[in-house]
Amino acid sequence: MNELNILGEPAGGEHHHCWRCGHDPAPEPAEPLSLFCQFCNTLQPPVPDYYAFFNLPRELALDLAELQRKFYALSRLLHPDRYTRAAERERKYSLEATAILNDGYRVLRDPVERAEYVLKEAGFDLGEQRSRDVPPELLEEVFELNMALDELKSGDQSAVPQLVESRASFQQMLGEIDGELAGQFRRHDHSEAREARHTILEQIRKILNRRRYIRNLVSEVDRQLTAHGA
């Protein structure tokens, strides 16, 4: 199914034949989906999937040094300055590819954004979160924190030491959560089965919810402490 649009590009971003020389990498399955035609070295329509773009395995515990190395190498290869004399189509691809390169690098190098990306691509709805994702002990602490914040907002400086203490405790929690995430990332990468991966991704989503919740609290405490000169 190789439907072509007006520009003669294959629909859906998948490319099998080089748009310029017609080379078809498909008969050689060992050949990875490449940004450049293996035959005439022409830039191909870039794939929007970040992992495929960087030609990296779909892993959560990514090798950041490897990612950075690829980012620099691809930045040089794709830079629009290299394509000023190229065909219009190739110039367009270099702009598109550079945008994907930068977005992809920004997302993949950050563990939280990377996990959210993988979740979204796996069909998880990140907007849908319910209170049961937050453990009750944590809610108690959050409630107390909000009470103290209210006191501070009404000008009661006596809440400051408690807030500073809570912030430290929440920051420590963030550290623990990051450790927990790293562990789940490794479990995910070691699981081959789709269902097993899905179950782990569900766990990861819950951890991310908790993380976002706590991170918001820490920034709120920071903001209020600064605003009230503490």
């Binding site: 319910r130 209170s131 809610l139 108690e140 409630f143 909000n146 976002r212 919740y213 918001n216």
Partner: protein
């Protein structure tokens, strides 16, 4: 986004703000939170053990206007109802009464969760007799 008049009314004059003694065996406490917006809602009911009627309800909510209005209205609806009637309260009733827009429906869901949590806490207490030392 503009709040409805009813939301503004509950937000500016919240009903039944406060707390009940959570150690009291006739009091059920529900504490829920929404990770996406950082809201946290505490809702408490005081039940007459003989009649099963909710005699008092209090709340304290940290969150947006819709979350405060949802929990304020919830406490009003709870008073005078039996525990079983209270369990049947649906978030859609809060949505309709407050004319909540779709993006604020989760606030009403949170309030429904809080009601259910408070009732569950009350029931759990009723099943396990209070320690004799509290007398």
């Amino acid at each position: 986004m503009a709040y409805s008049d009813k939301v503004l009314d509950h937000y500016n004059n919240p009903r039944n703000v406060g707390s009940l003694d959570k150690k009291d065996p006739s009091v059920g406490t529900g504490l829920v939170g929404a990770p996406e917006c950082g809201d946290v809602m505490k809702l408490q009911i005081k039940v007459n053990a003989d009649t099963g009627i909710i005699e008092d309800a209090k709340f304290k909510t940290f969150g947006c206007g819709s979350a405060i209005a949802s929990s304020s209205l919830a406490t009003e609806m709870l008073k005078g109802k039996t525990v079983e009637e209270a369990l049947a309260i649906k978030n859609t009733e809060l949505v309709n009464e407050l004319s909540l827009p779709p993006v604020k429906i989760h606030c009403s869901v949170l309030a429904e969760d809080a009601i259910k949590a408070a009732i569950q806490d009350y029931k759990a207490k009723a099943e396990t007799p209070a320690p004799a030392a509290t007398a």
